[in-house]
């Protein structure tokens, strides 16, 4: 027995030693990605253009084939790509490959010219039909006459109902045909009330609203408005016969216990009570109140329930609220959605197997109609979908869930690829879907800008996605030829910044340095100073000249290169990627209006450049230490005069250090340390020679978690490098964000109190900056009895551009936020592939997998890597 045991142990040890010594050879770690020849037995031949292995399928157009695997990695593996429930972009990754759309975007080229003929090939994009056989036809009048259930207004004559003819070769990967009714049935499932699908709201919120989709999805529920936003005082409410409060227009008022409230930063009161308990709340009557809540978490607002609510929110001093704050926990019931609502009223119907009609609540046309309005991402294979639905009994009834699109078997494809292997949190492999309509669709051919020949898109034959958590592992795998791209980290830039395979991609977000001009709060902080006011000052920040000086004290490109090399300098509230007219692909930042805003902000006189706006804008660096020093001196003198600072020793320098508190959400990290150090150094360098020389300091706060926006809005903290990003084709929405007190970080600047006059279509119109922003985003504004609305399709893109530029100018001119950095990323691309274009094009990027060109097939690539010693040099 003992001998057997000893022998067993020896074998195990030997096994381990052998394993340690065994060569790995050329084996890849990913399934299906070993170095192999194409399945037809041909050898890979490098340039794809020289080695077509299949015949042309459309006249002289050459198709390319072979074994070309796109190997990539993710740090979060998709787990549920069910189009009805996915919540994150990580989960949506497979949908890029296994789904299709009615219309799609392609680069402009000879086959697909841009709407704006002046655009050079591959400088822009154009819309082409994909699952649709042709472009949509406006059938508003016909639908209005034949389908009164959709409620198209009498005065609406166009852009409300659109008919689309589907291609007749649409199929699922197993060959099952896809017909128009499948789209309708899929929409019914995503909206079905009991399924509570996360993506249901996509069909009835924002600008792309299918008629009656919301009514079907929310049937039986109350439509509520947060009184924390409306701010109707309880005193202005009346009571009905049951004692429940109502608004002046008769709407019932409820207490929102489990609904997200603006007052609670989107959380529910219940979440707060459960998180903090009696530390902040009185709990004596909480359970009693909770028991009264209906299935939407609402309690009728009466004197009794208000009294109970008051015991919860006003009895603990630490929560710091009084009965005046109770109104923030109320919600107003606008109406109750009709119960048992018929799906027949929802604005999508099929008239035959190939004809779909969309009916929209708002007028839609062009880009927005075809790319967003007609998104059919809800398409599912309904028989499979239904078989995978599962009921689960819970405390409150039944919850439905589904395993649709969570494995190979449950993920039917109708896109260019289908899933051939999937292991949860490990890997995913795709191969071409031979039943995809795109292989026979003229839309999916392009003219190569280098050789002028025509090719079919999607040269990639396989896609291999690996879950790789550590960036260092990803880098090593990339250098070993096992990944086709590598997203660079900050530490990589010194080595790879100048690589010919380095590609920088701009992003929409502009990071701006928030500055505190909240005079009242700064004065109060100074009055109740818990710091030594003889050496420290916070009041100087409210002086405009001080903030103006800050704006030109930072060498932006140098800062970006130092603290975050993948980013670049930021100069405006909106970056270069925003498109104000997606139909003509017109970039906002390239317009004269937007350029003039920048020149005005940075005090560049265009006349100095012979009236050449482009030259004037090119001259902007955002860094002018001489002028900054003058402004700092001006601020210093104003500060002395107002008593904010002193110069008791008479050395011409402030006795106090102007201290700006940087609102930290968590402990300081390397990026923020570098950022704050750089800002402090550059600001004080610019202040040299002024009375504030060496007397300005940005100091990180203690971590305040997610409360940092509130600290900034309240003026209790001063600064933060922050940014917003929105849809690249909707820069107008940003105007709303800048001027919305619920969103903006600078509540001390009141755009509602600032009038702005613009000439629109020859008419001079004056309204507040805030109202202009609202009007720009489809809100009706009535001035002198005339109603204006400058929303999408309400006026010309040029008028909207003019308004947007004016609002941007107002925000910049208030010095509430100083643009500092433009977001971006950088990646290395493997020698195995090339992008079709070098320059990044918004909405298209560099073409993605559809346009990827291979220099080597898989076999050749592995040979190449081996010939380089197994480690490639990209420096």
């Amino acid at each position: 027995m003992k001998k057997t045991l000893a022998l067993l142990l020896a074998v195990v040890m030997l096994l381990g030693v052998l394993a340690g010594c065994g060569p790995q050879g050329n084996t890849e770690s990913t399934g299906g990605s070993e170095s192999t020849n194409p399945p037809d037995g041909t050898q890979g031949t490098g340039e794809a253009t020289e080695a077509p292995t299949t015949e042309a399928t459309l006249g002289t157009i050459v198709g390319v084939a072979g074994e070309y695997t796109y190997r990539t990695s993710v740090s979060t593996m998709p787990a549920n790509w069910n189009p009805h429930v996915y919540q994150t972009s990580d989960d949506a990754v497979p949908l890029d490959y296994i789904t299709d759309s009615l219309y799609t975007l392609v680069f402009n080229d000879e086959l697909h010219p841009a709407a704006d003929a002046s655009k050079a090939p591959y400088e822009s994009y154009t819309i082409v039909p994909s699952m649709a056989a042709d472009f949509p036809v406006d059938v508003t009048e016909a639908v209005k006459a034949e389908h009164p259930e959709f409620g198209i207004p009498e005065n609406a004559t166009s852009m409300r109902a659109w008919q689309v003819t589907l291609r007749d070769d649409l199929k699922w990967e197993d060959g099952t045909p896809i017909v128009a009714q499948d789209f309708v049935d899929s929409l019914e499932r995503v909206l079905r009330p009991e399924l509570l699908n996360y993506r249901a709201a996509d069909n009835y919120t924002g600008s792309y609203v299918l008629v009656n989709a919301k009514e079907y999805s929310l049937q039986g529920k109350l439509d509520i408005t947060d009184n924390g936003i409306e701010l109707i005082p309880i005193e202005e409410m009346t009571k009905n016969e049951e004692g429940q409060y109502t608004t002046a227009d008769g709407k019932l008022v409820y207490i929102g216990l489990t609904v997200g409230l603006d007052w609670c930063n989107g959380n529910s009161l219940q979440a707060y009570v459960e998180a903090y308990g009696d530390q902040y709340f009185g709990l004596e009557h909480w359970d009693e109140l909770l028991a009264m809540a209906d299935d939407q978490g609402l309690v009728p607002c009466t004197d009794d329930t208000l009294a109970l609510l008051a015991t919860v929110t006003t009895t603990v001093e630490a929560w710091g609220e009084t009965e005046d704050d109770l109104l923030n926990y109320l919600v107003i019931a606008n109406f109750r959605y009709e119960d048992n609502y018929s799906f027949d009223n929802v604005g999508l119907f099929a008239t035959d197997d190939h004809t779909l009609t969309f009916v929209f609540k708002n007028p839609l046309d062009g880009f927005y109609l075809m790319i967003y309005g007609m998104s059919t991402s809800y398409l599912v294979k309904t028989d499979l979908y239904d078989s995978l639905l599962k009921e689960t009994e819970t405390a409150k009834g039944t919850v439905w869930s589904s395993t649709y699109n969570t494995s190979i078997e449950t993920s039917p494809s109708y896109g260019p690829y289908k899933i051939s292997q999937f292991q949860t949190d490990k890997s995913m492999h795709f191969v071409k879907n031979e039943n995809w309509q795109g292989w026979n669709n003229d839309s999916y051919y392009y003219v190569d800008p280098e050789d002028g020949q025509t090719y079919q898109m999607y040269q990639t034959t396989d896609i291999d996605i690996q879950y790789i958590k550590e960036s260092e592992t990803r880098k090593q795998m990339f250098l070993a030829g096992q990944l086709l791209s590598y997203g660079m980290q900050s530490t990589d830039f010194d080595q790879y910044r100048n690589s010919s395979r380095y590609y920088a991609s701009p992003a929409e977000t502009i990071f701006f340095l928030i500055v505190n001009g909240n005079g009242a709060m700064l004065d109060e902080r100074e009055t109740h100073a818990d710091f030594d006011a003889t050496t420290t000052d916070v009041q100087m920040q409210q002086i405009l000249a001080f903030r103006q000086a800050l704006a030109i004290s930072v060498p932006r490109e140098e800062m970006a290169a130092t603290v975050s090399p993948q980013r670049s300098g930021g100069y405006a509230m909106l970056g270069n990627t925003y498109i104000y007219d997606p139909d003509t692909v017109a970039y906002y930042r390239e317009t004269d209006e937007a350029k003039q805003v920048l020149c005005d902000f940075y005090s560049i006189d265009v006349a100095d450049y012979n009236g050449d706006l482009d030259a004037a804008v090119d001259a902007i660096t955002g860094y002018d230490p001489e002028t900054a020093a003058e402004l700092f001196q001006q601020a210093y003198e104003e500060g002395l005069e107002k008593g904010y600072i002193t110069d008791n020793d008479g050395d011409g320098k402030s006795d106090q250090t102007v201290t700006m508190i940087y609102a930290m959400s968590s402990e300081i990290n390397d990026f923020l340390r570098k950022t704050i150090n750089f800002l402090n150094e550059s600001i004080n360098k610019s202040a040299a020679g002024s009375g504030l020389e060496g007397k300005i300091e940005i100091v990180p706060s203690s971590p305040v978690g997610n409360n940092w926006p509130e600290e900034l809005r309240a003026g209790t903290m001063d600064t933060e490098l922050a940014g917003w990003s929105g849809s690249v084709v909707d820069p107008f929405h940003m105007a709303d964000t800048w001027t919305n007190p619920d969103d903006a970080y600078w509540t001390w600047w009141n755009p509602s109190a600032i009038d702005m006059t613009l000439t629109i279509d020859g008419e001079e119109i004056t309204m507040s900056v805030r109202d202009w922003a609202l009007c720009l985003n489809s809100t009706d504004m009535t001035i002198g009895g005339k109603t204006y609305n400058f929303g999408y399709n309400m006026t010309s893109p040029e008028n909207r551009l003019k308004i947007l530029a004016a609002i941007e100018g107002q925000v910049l001119g208030a010095y509430v936020a100083l643009p500092i950095m433009a977001d971006g990323s950088g990646a290395l691309l493997s020698h195995q592939v090339d992008y079709i274009v070098e320059d990044y094009v918004p909405m298209m990027g560099r073409g993605g997998i559809a346009y990827m060109k291979y220099n080597y097939d898989d076999s050749e690539w592995f040979d190449y890597v081996a010939s380089q010693g197994g480690i490639l040099n990209y420096a």
Binding site: A19, Q24, S29, R199, A201, N267, D295, Q423, D425, K469
Partner: protein
Amino acid sequence: MFKYALQRTAYMILVLFIITLICFVLIRMLPLPALGPEDPHAQVIEMRREAMGYNEPYLVQFWIFLKNIFTKWDWGLSEKLYIGQDVWQIFLNKLPATMVVNLYSIIWTIPIGIALGVFAALKKNTWIDYTISTLTMVVISVPSFVYAFLVQYIFCFKLRWFPFVMKGGTDWFSWDMFVSMVPAILSLSFGVIAGFTRTTRAELTEVLTSEFMLLARTKGLTKAQATVRHALRNCFVVVVPGIFGEFIGILGGSLIIEGIFAIPGVGGLTLNAINGLDYNIFMLSTVFYTAIGLAAGLVVDISYGFIDPRIRVGSKK
């Protein structure tokens, strides 16, 4: 002995219940992810949370939780990471990878650790002992994920002996799978080998100086015979419980190693559940680790009696 085992098992179940209750309440007390006031999806999420019973008192929620487990073996649905999928199935899918990697690691580390410990003890106060002891201290002081990066860089990147990450698929005991696991196994093993070496050396050194060892030698046994038959068996009273302890330790250590080598195991699942606030998965992981820990303690206690007949746990005399 049997009665003692039963008694300990009953205690174990009671402790498991109490820990589960505490964890459940603490986890449910954690704030749910905030919803944006303007997020159009917030209403659906609120309704779903309501339907999932989040607004019930904690004890009611716990009762439902237990009832579902005991009546339907239903551990709930994933709410964030694998939306709508059965938590138990997810866990089951991930258990093999963790178990196999740890199994290989244990198989490899025990003999080497014990062998080095024995060798060091037999060569006590020689340069061999000093070298092994010093290396042991160095290795034990460095966390396993540091080895993971070193192993990956040297063996996978520079020497290209092994793949960077574990092979995909479920052929857990194939040769290819084993080779792809070697970097992870090595990374997990260094610290464990050092631990066994240190324990074995310390215990054996003490046992070798015992009087009964002198007696064994005087009655004619060789040094090797005396060591194997008497000294080792005595020192195993400490070493064997260590094996169970290390098994738990390895499960814990693999939380990070699994991430580095892309092992689709329960370690990564637990970390992701914590980060992603997926409470049902986290709850199942917690119960799993607690149950394994308690069971290991029970096995250790019972194993004493088998290893050393002089120990009679639970005996009144």
